[in-house]
Every structure is written in structure tokens, then in C-alpha cells.
């Protein structure tokens, strides 16, 4: 196969025919996350016959539909639980989940928690656009304080959900947050996440101009995308400023999202441990029983 160098070639290789145009609005960040994921897959050279995509419900959860591979578009919030079964039935399959902030951190929070805790072998790509995009802009659990949503018309008063922090606390093997406006590090990081045994989470901050940007006065699409550059900071830079920066600089960091790799562990995944359990029982059974010679 020839080396792929352009986005067109990439799309031709990995996307389904007959699914265009996509459902995404102009300026939506979801397509970019898809492109990054495809580049990561291309660089890894993974067999698309053995890679399965699962998702819940939401705009972000429509991504598997565009990929020429097996895809399970499940119910709202439940993709991780569905995918646990896929992996159990065929441990040779690679499992990638596309989910949204509402899908994963809202209705699906409990499945997320327990899959991360069990270190189930899968990569979850959660696209956080601070809003319920598909249903027209209701409040998401990740929405920053003060955000305007159709169901928070006077501004959000709830603490926003830091899903990376949660995943780290649960001992997930790989946890990273990125932003769609930065290309190279995220692709490398998706590759790392995909290759991990156990549970890996990649959170992507991505704009939803239609349901979030417009309502929150983030300007036109260009300005909205720039907001992400101005409101994110690499974990390493954050740490440096917190250590050596002036009070002024530290204050400026308060509202910024840290991006980068938060956790990188090597614990065995659930299905490796389960396989060991099965082997242990089988060895016991095959041992000669007492008195039977």
C-alpha cells in the first residue's frame, strides 16, 4: 500500500462511501478528532477488520458511522458497557469509543467509572464541547461556571466535571486531554492510548459553534476556535508557572484548561487478569487428583 500523505487519501482509505455529507455543522470540532484518530490508526497500521468502534448518542457519537469498519452505535451513555462485551467475546479486537461530554460524563458516568476502575481494555475518546449539541444546547456536566445553555438560561451554577481527574483517581492506565486546535501532540497521544493495555481516556476540547459558541458570545467560528488556543496550557508550562511565575501569571492560569498526558501506567488490563484466572483454574483441574493414580 502506498504511503498516505494527504487528508484526502486518508479519508478515501478509512471512510465509508455514501455517508456524505456528514451531519456536522460548519466549525464543529468533531470531524477534526476523527481525522486525528485516523492519522493515528494509519501510523500504527492497524487492521481495520480487527478494529471496532462503539459510541452512544450525540453528535460526537455519530463518528463511527463514517468509518469503514465495524461500528456499534448504541444507546445514550452506554457505549462503554456494550464495548466491554465486545472485547470479552473477542479479545483480539481493538476497541475505540467515541463519546460526548453528555454521553460519557453525564448519563454514562457510572459505566465510565467502572470501566476505568476495572481497567477494561479499550480507548475512550470523549469529545468535550461543554454542551449537549445534538439536542440543541442543554447544560452539560462539563460546562464551565457561568456558561449559558438552554436549560441554564441564567448561567451555569454547577461545578464542572473534570473527567481526566476522575480517570486518574480510578487508576486508568492512560489519561490525556487535548484540544482540536493543536494537531501533532494529540495524534501521538492517541497512538499511545491505542497501544495501551487496559483503559485509556483521551478527552478532546472541541468547539460547538452552533449550540455553545453562539449562546456564549464566543464570536464567529474563527474567534471561537481561537478561544481554545487562549484558554489551554500544557501541563508542563502550567507547573512551571505555578512554581516560578508571578502572582499575576498564576492568576491568569486559573481559568485555563491543562492539556497533555496526566497519567501513564502499565497495569495489566481486565481481560489479561481474567485470562490468568481461567488458566489458573484449568491447571488445577488438570492436576492429578489425590488417591487417583
Amino acid at each position: 500500500m502506498e504511503q498516505i500523505t494527504t487528508a484526502d487519501e486518508l479519508n478515501k482509505k478509512y471512510l465509508r462511501d455514501g455517508m456524505w455529507p456528514t451531519i456536522f455543522c460548519n466549525g464543529c470540532g468533531h470531524g477534526v478528532v476523527l481525522e486525528y484518530t485516523l492519522w493515528a490508526l494509519e501510523e500504527l497500521g492497524w487492521d481495520m477488520d480487527k478494529t471496532v468502534f462503539a459510541s452512544g448518542i450525540g453528535c460526537s457519537s455519530r463518528l463511527p458511522g463514517y468509518i469503514n469498519a465495524d461500528g456499534l452505535h448504541t444507546t445514550h451513555g452506554r457505549a462503554i458497557a456494550f464495548a466491554t462485551g465486545i472485547k470479552a467475546a473477542d479479545p483480539d479486537l481493538n476497541i475505540i469509543i467515541f463519546t460526548g461530554d453528555g454521553d460519557c460524563a453525564g448519563i454514562g458516568g457510572n459505566h465510565f467509572i467502572h470501566a476505568a476502575r476495572r481497567n477494561i481494555d479499550m480507548t475512550v475518546i470523549m469529545i468535550n464541547n461543554f454542551i449537549y449539541g445534538m439536542t440543541g444546547g442543554q447544560l452539560a456536566p462539563t460546562a464551565p461556571l457561568g456558561s449559558i445553555a438552554t436549560t441554564a438560561p441564567y448561567g451555569n451554577i454547577e461545578n464542572p466535571f473534570d473527567i481526566c481527574n476522575l480517570a486518574c483517581a480510578l487508576g486508568a492506565n492512560y489519561v490525556a486531554r487535548w484540544c482540536v486546535t493543536h494537531p501533532y501532540q494529540p495524534i501521538k497521544s492517541i497512538k499511545e492510548g491505542l497501544q495501551k493495555k487496559g483503559f485509556s481516556l483521551l478527552e478532546f476540547l472541541a468547539p460547538c459553534p452552533t449550540a455553545y459558541g453562539r449562546r456564549n458570545k464566543l464570536g464567529d467560528i474563527k474567534k471561537h476556535w481561537e478561544w481554545y488556543d487562549n484558554n489551554t496550557i500544557l501541563i508542563e508550562d502550567y507547573k512551571k508557572i505555578m512554581q516560578y511565575g508571578t502572582e499575576e501569571e498564576k492568576k491568569e492560569l486559573k481559568h485555563k484548561f491543562q492539556i497533555g498526558v496526566f497519567q501513564d501506567l502499565q497495569k495489566p488490563g481486565f481481560f489479561e487478569l481474567y485470562g490468568n484466572l481461567v488458566n489458573r483454574l484449568q491447571i488445577k483441574e488438570n492436576e492429578p487428583k489425590e488417591g487417583k493414580k
Binding site: H73, T74, A81, K87, A89, D90, P91, Y274, E285
Partner: protein, 394 residues
């Protein structure tokens, strides 16, 4: 490695051919014999013994047991496992069954085989956790939103818990629809003698796999290998068919087609007709003393036991009474009821609820005979005398 059904390994794990066994445990045995390799569940009385049995025995045959975070996740995992190529099962009771309803419909819509054992307890809500009931019979038929056909068996004995779990897998695999074993706390917690069927006496049905050329394969339409069959061939994930599976209304290729009336009607009609077109084959009833009967008990599950005793008392007292026991409750044996209603003067339907299966009985009796509900709730089975008194018209 993918699971391979290994009869010797299964029988080594199950042990002796004749056993004194708990109803719940018999469901585990049935699942293992049917080739189930994935159990996901969440503890709930009176179904926990099924999960406990699976946790003990499944790893010993190389199958997977996982305790999920809730029943929504449990049925979700079953459906995922089915697409990964496994036969999968769970067990639950009322509250858990209620939580499963959304994904139960998803399994219907995506034509995914899987088996749910519902060890029914009283409700609504938390009800009487340790006590049996038959209050979910209509929920299993109508509990999910939209139009579905249900497949549901009701065991009356521990042996039937085993046999019907195998049967549920066979129906589910054949029709690519979820199937329920609607047992209850009484039968689930009963201990009886069972005989584990020999390998050569087992009938085991597997879904028809997609085998045709990948470019020609169409995943959601009539079978491309069996003629005149509305059940599509199954493209297991990982076999290269690149299937998109969605609970949205979809076209034959599996892609969302949500805004046109004919697309939805065509899809849902094919899904339901897979079962309704086979209605004449899908009858599993037991008839006792019906030949000369002018009164009949129509019954199922645990309640069949006191109903049969009531019939015996009735016969001794010269009532011409018989029993029609529904082993497969859904799809409903309409023709059997039509025929019976023309023969007898009275049908009595004892159930451990305030009257559920009595409704389709009345519908198909069509006014040809009297149909009387004999309800009992509160977690106690009917005493035979309580059913008998309906013969005396009390």
C-alpha cells in the same frame, strides 16, 4: 482467544448427570449447555444465585463472567458480546428488568440474540424482594417503547429452568431477537431432581453467519443464504464485513434512515414478522385432561403446579376440568386459545399478579366462553383449594 464450546469441559464443570438442584442454578447449567460464553449481571434477589453460579462455573469452562455496575450495563454488555460472536445471558428480577427496558428494545431493533432470565418477584418498585410473582409478563411483552415481538418461556419446574434456558438460546439465535426466561422466585428458589441431557439429545441452534462475498453482503434484510427468510445473516464483528449497527431506524445497509415513514415501517415489520410469520411453529403448550373438558385452567410457570393439583381435585369431584399450560407465553398461542374457547364453557386463568395473561386469553376467546381471572399477589403461591373454588363458581 475466542470461546469454543467444549462439551467435555462443560460436563466436567457440571458434574453428575442426576442432581438435586436449585432452579436458579439450573438456568446457569442450561446456558452453559447451550454454548453461552458470556454472563454479565448485577446482584438482585431472587436471581443472585444465577450470577453466583455463573461466577463459579463460567471461568472453569473458559467463558467470561463479569459483574457489571448495574443492569443497564449488564444487558448492554450482552449485546456487545453477541456482536463479538458470543452467546450471552444475564439474570435479574423486577427492578433490574425495568432498568433493562431501553437496551432490550435496542436488542430487538439491532436484531441481536441474547437471553435474559427474569426471576420475577413482587412489585411495583422494590416490592417483596424474596417472594415470587408473575407481575412482569406484560412488561416483557410491552415494556420497551415501540413495536416489538417478544420471545418468553415460563418454566414450572427446575428441570424446565434448564431446558427452557437452552430453548431461549435457540429461539434467540434463530430469530435474532432477545429471549426471556420468565421464571419466578418460587421456581428459582425451588430444589428438585434434574437430569442433565446427554450431548446427543441436545438440540442447539446457532445464528446463521454471514458467509457471502463482502461486497455483496447486505446486513439488515432477508437472509442471503436461506431462501424466503426474513432473518438476516449475522456478520460477527471482526470478520471483515464492516457492519454499522444502530438503534436508529436504518436502511438495509444499516445506515440511519430516520425521516421517512416507509423506511421505518419496512424495518419494523420485517423485524416483527420474523416471529409472527412463524407463529404456527412457535407453540409450546402442555395439555392435561382437555379432551372431554368443559372447564379449563390456562396457566404458566409456578402457578401451573397448584392449578394442576386443583384440576385433580376437580376431577375427583366430577368436574370435567383440564389444563392448558403455556410453556412459551410470547408469542402468544392465539390459535390454541381460539380452539379451546370454542370447546369449553369456562376458562379460568390463575396468575401471581392482578390479571395479565388473562387479557390475551380473553381477546382470543372472543366471547366464545366465559374467561375468569384468578389472581393472587403478595408473594404466596395459590393454594390448590383457592383455584379449585373457581370451579364451584365461588
Amino acid at each position: 482467544m475466542k470461546y469454543q464450546r467444549d462439551p467435555k469441559r462443560i460436563r466436567d464443570a457440571l458434574g453428575k448427570k442426576v442432581q438435586f438442584l436449585l432452579g436458579d442454578m439450573a438456568c446457569v447449567y442450561g446456558g452453559m449447555l447451550a454454548g453461552c460464553s458470556f454472563f454479565a449481571g448485577y446482584p438482585i434477589t431472587p436471581a443472585s444465585e444465577v450470577a453466583e453460579g455463573a461466577a463459579r462455573l463460567f471461568p472453569r469452562i473458559g467463558a467470561t463472567y463479569i459483574q457489571m455496575e448495574d443492569e443497564i450495563g449488564s444487558i448492554a454488555a450482552l449485546i456487545g458480546a453477541a456482536w463479538g460472536g458470543a452467546k450471552s445471558m444475564t439474570a435479574t428480577s423486577g427492578p433490574g428488568f425495568s432498568l433493562m427496558m431501553e437496551n432490550y428494545g435496542y436488542a430487538v431493533m439491532t436484531e441481536t440474540p441474547c437471553v435474559i432470565v427474569n426471576v420475577q418477584r413482587t412489585g411495583p418498585s422494590t416490592g417483596q424482594p424474596t417472594l415470587g410473582a408473575q407481575g412482569d409478563m406484560m412488561q416483557c411483552r410491552w415494556g420497551t417503547h415501540g413495536d416489538i415481538e417478544a420471545l418468553a418461556l415460563a418454566p414450572s419446574t427446575v428441570q424446565e429452568c434448564l431446558d427452557f434456558t437452552i430453548e431461549a438460546f435457540n429461539l434467540s439465535e434463530k430469530y435474532r431477537n432477545p429471549a426471556c426466561v420468565m421464571t419466578d422466585g418460587e421456581v428459582g428458589h425451588l430444589r428438585e431432581r434434574i437430569i442433565i441431557p446427554e450431548e446427543q439429545d441436545l438440540e442447539i441452534i446457532d445464528r446463521v453467519p454471514a458467509i457471502i462475498d463482502k461486497k455483496k453482503f447486505i446486513p439488515f434484510m432477508n437472509s442471503q443464504t436461506i431462501k424466503n427468510c426474513k432473518i438476516p445473516d449475522f456478520p460477527t464483528f471482526g470478520t471483515g464485513y464492516h457492519t454499522y449497527v444502530t438503534g436508529l431506524t436504518h436502511n438495509e445497509k444499516g445506515f440511519p434512515a430516520t425521516d421517512k415513514q416507509p423506511d421505518h415501517e419496512r424495518l419494523v415489520k420485517r423485524i416483527t414478522e420474523k416471529i409472527t410469520n412463524d407463529a404456527s411453529k412457535l407453540v409450546m403448550v402442555e395439555k392435561l385432561n382437555l379432551d372431554d373438558a368443559d372447564i379449563a385452567f390456562v396457566t404458566y410457570g409456578a402457578t401451573a403446579r397448584p392449578a394442576e393439583s386443583a384440576m385433580e381435585i376437580g376431577r375427583k369431584n366430577r368436574y370435567k376440568v383440564g389444563v392448558l399450560r403455556l410453556k412459551l407465553v410470547w408469542p402468544f398461542p392465539e390459535k390454541e386459545i381460539v380452539k379451546l374457547a370454542k370447546q369449553v364453557d369456562k376458562i379460568i386463568v390463575p396468575e401471581m399478579n392482578l390479571g395479565q395473561i388473562v387479557h390475551p386469553v380473553r381477546e382470543y376467546a372472543g366471547g366464545n366462553c366465559e374467561v375468569i381471572s384468578a389472581p393472587k399477589i403478595g408473594g404466596e403461591m395459590h393454594h390448590p383449594a383457592e383455584i379449585y373454588k373457581y370451579l364451584e363458581g365461588k
